[in-house]
Symmetry: C2
Subunit: 348 residues, 2 copies
């Protein structure tokens, strides 16, 4: 293990859910920077501080002694890096509420994956209402909170509009079991993170409907094309979507039952009703919120998104699973580089 060098950073993680707690643990374990975990309310902060464990979200993980836990947002004033680890739909509000405490050069890292359904915007645009664009970064890629917290090897992407900022953040947060690769493709990285949740629902539907692993693999290959098409149309790079934060995260989320999005799709594929699933006290999974936003953005730019469209229609109650199967599996792979004219002939 390489001895950490002092970076002079002071890190505050906002949000004591599973991902925020895992990030605080891994950063505190590897780095030299002081780490504070900022919980929403006093009771939760006291409970975590007293037990050194976030039993509700990360049972079995002991927080390093060096992590301070608080519920006082003023701590932000002292931070050089803020990790915004609240849910995607809460990122805008959190950024607004914290912005009055933010120092002039503090970096704000979006640690959530999705699109804001209220405004049909990417999270970096939402946070930019309250934080200067050149201080915003995005952390994304294939990393389950439990894997990160346990110290299993994970590799993720850290993107900022300015590569020097991305590098600085990668150095500050990096550890031997938590490998961060810097990128300046904020758009590509956040689109990969948002759309893979939608595709994970589709993957779950295919599995839940009993169509087999071969069908699921074909769907994932098509899904990557769909993600890349959407990203390139919005100014992202295709190569980003083929990397960790695109393909890597898609594979993780679309093949694992640890993923809430995948499990939601599984329940739909098994015939459960979307409205009933949403009504069971659980908030909708992120992919279910992102799907209609992605479809509206795609329609506005004329981007073909058959899989996201089918997911949005199923969740919205406008399409049956049976009809979706044909939309998801039976239509030609237009984007397969060498779509067969022969096959197209036979289908018409």
């Amino acid at each position: 293990m390489i001895a950490p060098r002092p970076t002079g950073e002071r890190i505050v993680v906002v949000g004591a859910g599973a991902f925020g707690t895992a990030l605080a643990c891994v950063v505190a374990r590897h780095g030299d920077a002081p780490v504070t975990l900022l919980a929403r309310d006093a009771a939760k902060a006291s409970q975590i501080a007293a037990t050194r464990c976030n039993a509700a979200y990360l049972p079995g993980v002991i927080l390093p002694d060096t992590i301070a836990v608080t519920h006082a947002p003023e701590i932000i004033a002292d931070a050089t890096i803020v990790l915004l680890a609240v849910p995607a739909q809460a990122q805008g509000l959190a950024a607004r509420q914290l912005s009055c405490h933010l120092g002039a050069s503090t970096a704000v890292v979006i640690c959530a994956k999705g699109m804001e359904r209220e405004s049909d915007r990417f999270l970096s645009a939402v946070v930019a209402d309250s934080v200067a664009r050149d201080r915003i970064a995005v952390l994304s890629g294939p990393g389950f909170a439990a894997d990160i917290a346990k110290g299993l090897p994970t590799a993720m992407t850290l993107a900022a509009h300015d590569m020097a900022m991305a590098d600085r953040l990668a150095v500050a947060l990096w550890g031997p079991t938590f490998r961060l690769y810097a990128s300046d493709d904020v758009t590509g990285v956040e689109i990969g993170g948002a759309l893979k949740n939608v595709l994970a629902i589709a993957s779950g539907i295919v599995e839940g409907a009993g169509l087999g692993e071969s069908a699921r693999a074909a769907l994932i290959a098509r899904g990557l094309s769909e993600m890349a098409r959407f990203a390139v149309a919005h100014g992202g790079h295709a190569a980003t979507l083929s990397g960790l934060s695109g393909l890597g995260d898609l594979v993780l989320t679309a093949t694992s039952r640890q993923s809430r999005n995948m499990r939601f799709g599984l329940a739909l594929g098994e015939g459960q009703n979307s409205a009933a699933l949403a009504g069971a006290g659980q908030p909708l999974c992120e992919g279910a919120l992102t799907a209609p936003v992605a479809v509206r953005l795609a329609q506005a730019r004329g981007i073909d998104m058959p899989i996201a469209g089918a997911v949005a229609d199923i969740i919205g109650g406008r399409m049956s699973i049976e009809a979706a199967m044909s939309a998801l599996m039976a239509r030609p792979l237009r984007d397969e580089a060498e779509t067969s004219v022969a096959t197209a002939r036979r289908e018409t």
Copy 2:
């Protein structure tokens, strides 16, 4: 369902293993062409013909009545399309033995994934010893025999050097549950099919060693880059590797315990010995045979293949699992488009 049109083809499937039997079933079920299954020996042919079931390889699947079963290789003389569904290392011998019966314009479709270890060659080059290059095609992509045979939806790629030939074959073999996309990138398609087996072993090792699903997803993302690099250096197209026969098949094989290659890696990752696994009466899985060939071909052209190299070294007994973990997980993602200079700095 679309009514099949007469294509005038006569199809012989060579090899009554799981994949050959599944192909015979799906083609006979959907198409109008007469289908014959050619088994290696008389006893096996009689048994399948009598029971209409290949109990050893595809238990529970009933062969359509229209499939003829024989062990007489002369039947090849009557075929317009021959599907070579024998194991990768047996493709050369099968092509040689059958070539004397082959009609002048009969198409020969390679239905195996691997590289010939005796000659360090791709299968299309091996078969070209006995069959004219313009009559050779390759069927590859994400399709487990059991899924194909059960009529679950599958999508695969059919490649020939000449696109008209690929189209003709896709029409003849296509069915509503068995979607075939034509390609003229024979090299890209066969490299994807061969290398995904090697990467599936790596994926199994990571899982067997308990490194978690996040690590496995990162490995798969890196593995796709490695496959694409190798393919492009050999004249294949990068887009082919991002499609069904590359990424699609990689995802299927590297995440499913139905895959022998993945299970072999799993056993290695759990600490079992490669020599002992091979000695247990089972032939080595295809990826274990392909890995050293791929490494030799890569070295000859100066292509960086860290994952295939680690797999070959583990199987060859030259590297421990512990050392491999660092080779597989800890080295920089050089091919991640935006490899962080910061991370590189920290590691040196």
